[in-house]
């Protein structure tokens, strides 16, 4: 997104390793994840292809959406 239009990001802690990343979602299917520490902080990272999102982190992001801790635009969720 153009910086001035981007949604604010919210912190999500990985339920497995505790690494905190900043996350935003424009829709149920869209996800942005900004790391603020070196990705080697995730103990699983070295086992995964560089482009693959850690499955534990994906689970924690899904949990954050369900719990309401991570807002997704309402019109998208109702679809």
């Amino acid at each position: 997104m153009t910086p001035e239009d981007a949604l604010p990001m919210a912190p999500v802690a990985c339920g497995t390793c505790g690494t905190v990343v900043q996350v935003s979602k424009n829709s149920a299917a869209q996800t942005s994840i900004q790391w603020e520490v070196d990705s080697s902080a995730c103990p699983k990272r070295s086992e995964l292809p560089v482009g693959e999102t850690c499955p534990h982190l994906s689970d924690s992001i899904r949990d954050a959406v369900f719990s309401g801790a991570l807002a997704v635009p309402a019109s998208e969720l109702s679809e």
Partner: protein
Amino acid sequence: MSSDTVRHIESKGAPDRFARGWHLLGLTREFDDGKPHGLEAFGTKLVIWKGADGKLKVLDAYCRHMGGDLSTGTVQGDNVACPFHSWRWGGDGKCKEIPYARRIPPRARTNAWLTKELDGQLFVWHDHEGNPPPDDVTIPAIPGYEEGEWTDWVWDKTLVPNSHCREIIDNMVDMAHFYYIHKGPPTYFKNVFDGHICTQYYSGTTHEEAAKGLPIAVGVAEDQQTVSDATYWGPAYLVDKLWTKYGDLTFETILLTTHYPISSSSFMLNYGMVMKKNPDWDDATNNKIAGKLLEGIGSGFYEDVKIWLNKAPIDNPLLCEEDGPVYQLRRWYSQFYVDVADITPEMTQRFEFEIDTTKAVDFWQKELVEQAAQKAAAEA
């Protein structure tokens, strides 16, 4: 900013240096005939030759004696001899011999480029600050290349004038251009930047498939017409693991899209492919099929070039939610244009971005179904 304010394109111009990183100059087979080869790159000219020791060597082409062009000289043993006065230069940049002189001047040293040969490719390391590459900045080998599991390289290149090479980097995040430029509507699209690496996952269908009007799986990487896992190793070397379906056949290929800058407003695009050999075919057939696949890829690059030749450089692109993370990509790319000491954490910290392609695929399929119906009606 109110919504009726006109938005203006901003552009500060090209970077004032060339990127730090490994750059592919070409295949080793282009340079190994025992003659010196000239190549315009990095704002100068290079000379490349294979010495008697079997190694490819790269120096600045202009002789430090009187400016002769070494690439128009000859190879003498391990050294290259200048056509002007026959000064002999070694791959380490030192003048080894001046046949008519008693002594070699103490400062007779030119710029030697650090080279790497891997899987039939020749690379040079460029760093504005003149430092060698860190241990973790490498080019990955192709698994099975040495064992003969892949075809020979099929290869092509094209000079792109009037463009800075950052234009091709933008393609990494440009989801929608795959539909409009390359006739491959993406159904799944994701980017990850991490350290000096930048990845694009792309899965897509084709115009022909989408026009059938059958349901398209959106947001899944697997089992699509095209599945692509592409990674930039540094600023200029893209390795794309690419699976393409044609009817019942799936071709597994590795497509390299690489470039080196010629100047701050032109670059050489080098691209090539190896295909995993089909055991049912002989080597000649496998190579021929790989060549056909590359022709298709090549025509796609020419479509990109047509856009670049006419577009404006733009530092402040105006993006929608279905566009990829152009700003974060450029933040990642900027690490190669500053001193190592000035690389900020934001340039290298991991960033992951998956696009929601639902609306785009829905619209594109409707458009393609409609176009197919119109075409059928016109032919009826």
